[in-house]
Symmetry: C2
Subunit: 397 residues, 2 copies
């Protein structure tokens, strides 16, 4: 066969982060078959789905087995019942988002990856370190990326003032808050600076709020639409994965306000066309499960799970405070992002933790150059394991 393949794929860094981690853990286990390894590396939830959610999903599955209640093709942008529920969720956060500006999908990762389809080539601004999907999906499309560095000095919250010289007109800017991997959160003032910058340069912000439900402190926006001007410059992508433990259920959504236009082109109209052509909607039982997660009982149950994870995070950050180790995250995020002690590299620190106290975390350089002296620990484990991990860490940090 001799056809043209997408040569931009050659420009994607093959980091093999998680496979390298797995290989090192396997090698350690082979040599130490009795070791009790505690895994705090992967950003996946561990608590089961709330009962309300399971019941709704089971009921929907049973409806599919009965002629009178069977449902075929779902609406491409989501069932009305779920778009309405998400719209009410925004109203509870104090912002107005119409149901028909909400596009339901099988997850935030799909939307973040597929959004590039509706744009031409634009300059792209991405923080470093960050969730790799923004970089990889833009690299696949041949877009030129300008990185803006998260550092100890800016608390891993780079501002537009730190951008390299240039006019940056018509850029596509990716922001993630609470951030994966750093757990850092933009407050209203800092996020306003980004919205003002986008408006003044005619740029678009793609705002990833997948970890919104972990926000605890006042003055931290739960949605970018709390910021004046955002309706004219921002797409928001969110998810049930971390809010309701849906990593294995698969449901997310994207908000594109009608007011979001580039010249005459409606961004929502482009996305509608993209989704109607290349997507066929989300499984009916999954949408019923998501609706249940947004019911009063569902929210209570989800918040209970989130608080469980956040108590884990506090155990970790208490120790780092005690040891005087710099970190971000933990209080509005399931992630704790810590500076590797004594200036060691992130893979070196990974090996130290694995070999000395049998704890697996994620080396920061897996998320970009700016992470090469940092380390991500997640709070998604059990209380028992987290407590034991803290005790082990206390002895060596």
């Amino acid at each position: 066969m001799n056809i043209n393949t997408n040569t931009n794929f050659n420009n994607i860094k093959q980091t093999y982060l998680f496979s390298e981690i797995a290989a090192r853990v396997r090698a350690y286990e082979a040599e130490h078959p009795d070791a009790k390894i505690i895994r705090m590396g992967i950003g996946d939830v561990t608590l089961p789905l709330p009962e309300e959610v399971v019941n709704a999903m089971v009921k929907a599955c049973q409806e599919m087995g009965v002629k009178e209640t069977f449902r075929g093709y779902p609406p491409e942008y989501g069932y009305g019942f779920l778009r309405d529920a998400i719209s009410i969720h925004y109203a509870d956060l104090g912002v107005s988002i119409a149901p028909d500006s909400i596009f339901v999908s099988d997850g935030a990762k799909s939307d973040l990856g597929n959004l590039v389809d509706i744009f031409g080539n634009n300059p792209v601004i991405i923080p470093d370190p960050v969730y790799p999907v923004y970089v990889d999906s833009n690299t696949m499309s041949g877009n030129k990326i300008t990185y803006i560095n998260g550092t100890k000095e800016n608390g891993f919250l780079p501002s537009p003032a730190e951008l390299p010289e240039g006019d940056h007109k018509g850029s596509v800017i990716y922001l993630c808050s609470p951030n994966n991997p750093t757990g850092a959160v933009y407050d209203k003032k800092a996020l306003t600076a980004w919205v003002d910058f986008a408006v003044s340069t005619g740029s678009l912000i793609i705002y990833d709020s997948a970890y919104e439900a972990f926000i605890a402190e006042d003055d931290i926006p739960h949605t970018i639409y709390e910021i004046p001007g955002a309706y004219e410059c921002a797409i928001e992508v969110c998810s049930f994965s971390k809010f309701a433990g849906f990593t294995g259920v698969r449901c997310g959504w994207t908000v594109i306000p009608d007011s979001l236009k580039s010249g005459e082109a409606s961004i929502a109209a482009l996305w509608k066309r993209r989704q109607a052509t290349k997507f066929n909607g989300v499984s009916y039982p999954v949408q019923r499960a998501a609706e249940a997660a947004l019911s009063d009982e569902g929210i209570s149950a989800c918040v209970k799970n989130i608080n469980y994870y956040k108590e884990n995070a506090k155990l970790i950050t208490d120790l780092l405070n005690e040891k005087g180790i710099f970190y971000t995250g933990g209080s509005n995020s399931p992630y704790v992002w810590l500076e590797c002690p004594e200036g060691v590299g992130s893979w070196e620190f990974f090996d130290k933790l694995l070999n000395e106290v049998q704890i697996v975390g994620t080396p920061g350089e897996g998320f970009g150059k700016g992470g090469d002296r940092y380390f991500r620990i997640t709070a998604f484990g059990s209380r028992e394991n987290t407590m034991e991990a803290v005790e082990r860490l206390r002895n060596i940090l």
Copy 2:
């Protein structure tokens, strides 16, 4: 905002086929509130899911509510249990497809749309009339499309010999058999001609076999891998939608053999990278439902439903035979594609059926220029409605 949008989107025909149909039906209903309209337009299933499938999906939902059996992120390319089951399904069809050449997704439409991501610009060959996703997804990527016409003379099964002059080297060719909308099926000889053509021109075939389960006759390939040479030139996209009634459940798969390479580039490796970046796997309960559909009991139940639809199709084709009206499909397909009597246009015939006998079908021109004197009727309705529709049609055809 002033960013570059994908201007290829401007080149997509805004057919509004189904919204135009809905508008005409609404207008008729408003004037005739007591009319009993029979809908035979949309290609959606109507029978409920088999009990085995519902039970498996319910059990998986319940597992998600228990800590010990909860599952987070699914494997990006599908659970081993489902890839194995699909591999066994191919073995039952007499071809060998390794589980790791099978990529599970949320549906054939997603894969058919997203596959363009991994290719550069290539000449594209698409039959007309055809399922619109091939045309629209390639138009969105700026690919140049050569149409090859299905006609009464070739039975809506165009062969490579009918291509316009040119070398056609390195083309991407879309084939759909059993075809949507015409119901026509390539036999072994005709499909071999396409595989030989692809091999001799270094081209790729993207083979859409979503309606495979409706094939009844011998000598009709159920998968393109029955044809020698296909492992070196073909991707196959298939679905649980029509086989198991999963239009609302959402599950499909794509086969990319390891032997499929363009020069040094492995097509499977490109797809793996695309899916790992822009997709996060299929809902666990959905994958368990799909596995159950491929169990012995599941297959029996699915075949029973398919036979029900095919008996509907036979009622329709018996009438067309009686009336001497040319058609394709029906015997290996849920679709019957008939020539509009007396040379009328497809929208004119639509209006005639709606106004005179209150039957809704799909005007052929919605699937391409070659459909402008044809009409699609589906066999997915109830037996009662199909019988009544046939009686009504008998009086006016």
